[in-house]
Amino acid sequence: MRVALAVLWKDLLTEWRSRDRLVAMAVFALLVVVIFHFALPEGTGRQIASNAPGLIWVAYVFTALIGLNRSFSQELENDALSGLALAPGERGWVFLGKAAANFTMIGTVQAMTAAAFGLVFDLDLGSVALELAAITALGTAGICSVGTLIAAMAVRTRFGEVLMPILLLPTLVPVIVGAVDGTEHLLETARIPFDAVQLLIVVDATYLITSFLCFEYVLDE
């Protein structure tokens, strides 16, 4: 557990000093929101409101791809990845620290994206902010668990940046289905839907346990 906390602290501190990943993700997320406006020129009012859960999760997933990829590509410099592999104890704890750091950074950008989305498309997300944060956190936990595992593999292949979304997106379907369904019900009824939350918990637990156990074979010296 101490290894996980150390890796989390290291990643957050590195990011605090450089701020490159957060800035890149934030700018990208804002651009995606702007692109939605042009992609849906008639998309004002009711049309945007009915498509908002899907659109916002598309922005979240694409933004997460950037963050996850960078999470391990920065470890390639000076062969820092080998140093991580030498951490004492199971390598699953390194995974947990990395996934937690990704969760924190992606979550921060998601909060900003949701605020921008609500603002420019005139959606009242503030009244369900806490519930929306809970569903987003559950969805992001799924993205970050399997995403961290896949990023650790993709970064050490040729065309890693291209391979990353090809490997990751098919595995994210259960997360996207649950998260979009949950967000949709929340925006319609202002209540957290039990079915979607239950699904997201099952998917998160499956991905977390699998990734924790498999990371031993992914991280090598």
Binding site: L163, L167, P174, L199, T206, T210, Y217
Partner: protein, 240 residues
């Protein structure tokens, strides 16, 4: 000395696979002729017409596709556990043969769908799950192709194969609960096939089942020979 005995061991395993594949090949040839004959002689469906005969190909292809993906995950898990390259080669063979069956299923399905449902594609749960699996195993093969030749890529492949097979029940559950209504029949119950349709359907399953095993064994053998050639040079002379 050890180098030579390792090579002999690998060659002897490739030879065993070859000896297993030969009778399977003959069996497949005989079955394929009988199967083609029974399909040709099977009655034509009064509502769907000749297009219904895709039934004798499509479900058996689906079983082969799913089986290939299970073989990939099994090979990957065994490789991680036992650290024997042969299991990794089995996983590659499973993924390639599974992907071939899956592709053929994705080709025959829309042709049948167009004839019976009136459109090429529907977001039916089973179709969607299969499409996602097709993408996952395509990604698996890309991961193998873009990685370095060696144990690291084999481990990556094993991990991704395990994640991929986990998605079969997960995606199915998700899409069944949250997705659109299924257009596929729940199952083929006893007596649901018309007179004269049972035998070609049964033979279709048998023939494509044997074809799956034959292709898997041959592909596994090729992967073994490739590894031997990469490590010790071409082995044809030894096999003759």
């Amino acid at each position: 000395m050890n180098e030579i005995s390792d090579r002999d061991l690998e060659l002897s395993f490739a030879d065993k696979l070859d000896r297993a594949a030969r009778p399977l090949g003959w069996l497949l040839a005989v079955l394929a002729i009988v199967y083609a004959w029974t399909v040709a002689m099977a009655p034509i469906d009064s509502i769907q017409g000749p297009i219904q005969k895709i039934l004798y190909v499509h479900p058996p292809l689906a079983y082969g596709a799913y089986l290939g993906f299970v073989v990939t995950a099994f090979g990957g898990m065994m490789y991680l556990w036992k650290d024997q390259e042969n299991f990794d080669r089995l996983a590659i063979a499973g993924a390639e043969v599974g992907l071939l069956f899956c592709t053929l299923m994705m080709v025959t399905g829309p042709i049948w769908a167009r004839g019976t449902w009136g459109h090429w594609w529907s977001w039916d749960p089973r179709l969607t799950v299969t499409l996602l699996l097709w993408f996952i195993y395509l990604a698996y093969l890309l991961l193998r192709a873009f990685g370095d030749a060696g144990p690291r890529t084999a481990r990556f492949g094993a991990v991704y194969g395990i994640v991929g097979v986990l998605l079969i029940p997960l995606n199915y559950y998700v899409i069944e609960i949250f997705g659109s209504r299924s257009m596929h029949p729940e199952n083929l119950e006893r007596g649901s096939l018309g007179d004269g349709m049972g035998l070609p359907f049964l033979l279709g399953n048998l023939t494509l089942g044997v074809a799956f095993v034959w292709l898997l064994v041959r592909r596994w053998q090729v992967e073994n020979l490739r590894a031997i050639a990469a490590r010790w040079g071409r082995p044809e002379e030894d096999l003759q």
